[in-house]
């Protein structure tokens, strides 16, 4: 009898632990390639947008919701769980990065930095230095993501405060504005000095234009160039039902990766990229019909058409002083092709080139992308809500990509984005080569590691 009760005790313990493991704790609910494991090291603090991990393993993330009036959270990873050390920064936002002993963070209008000591303590949490100020925020595509090069510059995304630069935003049959005035102060990437205080538009350079909204961007140390992920435009069917049915609208246009150089023009709002035809297409707001490609348009308009008219307007703007590279590019009529294109509407919110040694060799210098997950596919099922890996060879994507970490949403058969349990939004590489993923639904932080 004693033996039997011992047996029952053992059985009940094993059942409980099995159920617990299966339901919640195996890889924190994520699906990963063989050899990888994930733990959820933190949850419940704000809405974690971008995230960074210091050389000592300190975690900082920027929240789009204040908790007790604070929007930056500092955590320390202790025995598989991250403990909150402190919080500061009385503003919401997205961007965060560490550079030359400073923690940089962005609100939706400004970029600040905080001096860190050798123990990663923030010395002046209430008096950050203001690096950039006065960036446009008209509540649409408002987040200001940041990245650095190796020459002392900081790059800031300034998203377009419009879907397609229409006379009336997102409105049925509303035509594109000509020229598009959004581009003078938004819809591109601006370059500033990383260590100069109180810079405004007049101190910056419009480094690249024609980008509707970039949330994920990263400097590629191999190519020594900036790579960005653009959020493609929405609502082709809603606004132009005669050219696009709901299915086409769910699959168009591509989410696109670009390698930028000073003067790059990626074509928003005049074009979008069709991932099935692999073509730049003339946007319906500017005379397109879902069939006419940008090349066909240029054949009919050998003087450069829309791009030139737009350039002539924008060259008078103060934000474009010293912007001769852009001028030359504009006269070339060049709209850049993407480095690689992904299915529509998945919302790429973070880009990270992996330089660690922990993961297998194929991941080295390739790109991870956090796809926040779509909304503009309804009434079709939503897509994304995963982290993708893009292999690179000689500084260029090979053209392939694969889902790396899946099931953040907790299922993939849903039409309503509010059904998603988690949405990946930020990526960071830890000093040991682990990959950190932040989530802006419940403020979760995942740590993904590899073991041979």
């Amino acid at each position: 009898m004693k033996k039997l009760s011992f047996y029952f005790l053992f059985l009940s313990i094993s059942i409980t632990s099995f159920a617990k493991n299966n339901a919640d704790t195996i890889n924190a609910g994520l699906k990963l390639p063989a050899g990888f494991s994930a733990t959820k090291i933190s949850e419940g603090l704000g809405r974690a947008r971008h995230i960074v991990v210091s050389q000592q393993g300190t975690i900082f993330y920027k929240s789009s919701k204040l908790v007790n009036g604070k929007g930056i959270f500092q955590l320390k990873n202790l025995n598989g769980k991250a403990e909150l050390i402190t919080s500061f920064g009385k503003y919401i936002g997205t961007g965060i990065a560490i550079r030359n002993g400073y923690l940089y963070a962005s609100s939706d209008e400004e970029v600040f930095r905080y001096k860190l000591n050798e123990k990663d303590e923030v010395l002046n949490p209430d008096q950050p230095e203001k690096i950039i100020t006065g960036l446009i925020n008209r509540h649409q595509h408002e987040s200001k993501s940041i990245a650095f090069d190796n020459d002392g510059n900081i790059y800031v995304n300034i998203g377009a405060y419009a879907n397609a630069c229409q006379e009336k935003d997102r409105t049925l049959h509303s035509k594109g504005r000509m020229p598009c005035p959004v581009l003078d102060s938004a819809g591109g990437i601006w370059q500033f000095k990383a260590d100069k205080l109180n810079q405004t538009y007049a101190d910056g350079i419009r480094y690249a234009t024609g980008l509707r909204n970039v949330v994920g961007l990263d400097w590629n140390a191999q190519t020594n160039s900036l790579f960005v992920m653009q959020h493609g435009r929405d609502q082709l069917h809603d606004n132009w039902p005669e050219f696009y049915d709901t299915k086409q609208s769910a699959e168009l246009p591509a989410e696109t990766m670009y390698e930028l150089h000073r003067g790059s023009n990626c074509g928003w709002p005049f074009i979008y990229y069709d991932p099935m035809q692999h073509k730049k297409m003339l946007a319906p707001e500017y005379g397109g019909d879902g069939k006419k490609s940008w090349d066909e348009y240029l054949n009919e308009n050998k003087n450069g058409g829309l791009v030139i008219v737009n350039y002539k307007y924008n060259q008078d703007k103060t934000s474009l002083i010293n912007d001769m590279d852009y001028a030359r590019k504009a006269y070339d009529k060049t709209i850049q092709d993407p480095a690689i294109a992904f299915p529509a509407h998945m919302g790429p919110n973070a880009l990270l080139f992996y330089t660690g040694n922990q993961f297998p060799e194929k991941y080295k210098n390739g790109a991870f992308i956090a796809f926040h997950g779509s909304w503009n596919r309804a009434p079709e099922l939503q897509k994304g809500y995963f982290v993708v890996f893009v292999p690179f060879k000689n500084g260029k994507p090979t053209g392939e990509w694969e889902i790396f970490a899946d099931n953040f949403a907790g299922g993939d058969q849903f039409m309503e984005p509010n059904k998603a349990q988690h949405r990946p939004c930020g990526l960071a590489q830890g000093p040991d080569g682990s990959l950190y993923v932040s989530d802006d639904v419940k403020g979760a932080v995942y740590k993904i590691s590899y073991k041979k």
Binding site: H139, E142, T171, L172, W375, P379, E416, P417, N418, V441
Partner: protein, 137 residues
């Protein structure tokens, strides 16, 4: 006494028939409104009226939907581009103006929205839409 009884009975019958007709009118309006919702509103506000977190506001249990009818009619007619909190949350996307919908269609779709997704509120009439439309923007 018998006479009074039949009058009361008759009055009850009238009330009943009236209620029935109102019910039928309401149902017809909701049915028409649902078709418009699927065509025009669903892509942003979703099948369940839940919206998209931080981008497009939910319509279920929304104070904008359940509150002042003139205000929500105005938003359908003219769109909403100001940054304002809706039930303590901010939403990024602009709402388009729907000048393509006529008074009947706006009355129907709002009646549908006010009686769906767990909402229960009075119907919106064509006259109410007409009154808001005739006001200057």
């Amino acid at each position: 006494m018998k006479k009074i009884f039949s009058v009361i009975l008759f009055l009850l019958f009238v009330v009943f028939v009236n209620a029935q007709t109102n019910q039928q009118t309401l149902k017809a309006s909701i049915d028409r409104g649902q078709k418009i919702y699927f065509k025009v509103c669903l892509s942003c506000h979703m099948l369940d009226g839940g919206g998209v977190p931080h981008m497009n506001p939910p319509l279920s249990q929304s104070s904008y939907v359940l509150g002042d009818k003139a205000k929500i009619i105005y938003i359908i007619l003219h769109g909403l581009e100001t940054r304002e909190p809706i039930d303590d949350e901010y939403y990024s996307n602009n709402m388009a103006a729907h000048t393509d919908l006529n008074n009947q269609q706006i009355a129907d779709v709002l009646t549908y929205v006010r009686n769906s997704f767990g909402n229960k509120a009075s119907a919106v009439s064509v006259a109410e839409v007409k009154a808001v439309r005739s006001k200057k923007k």
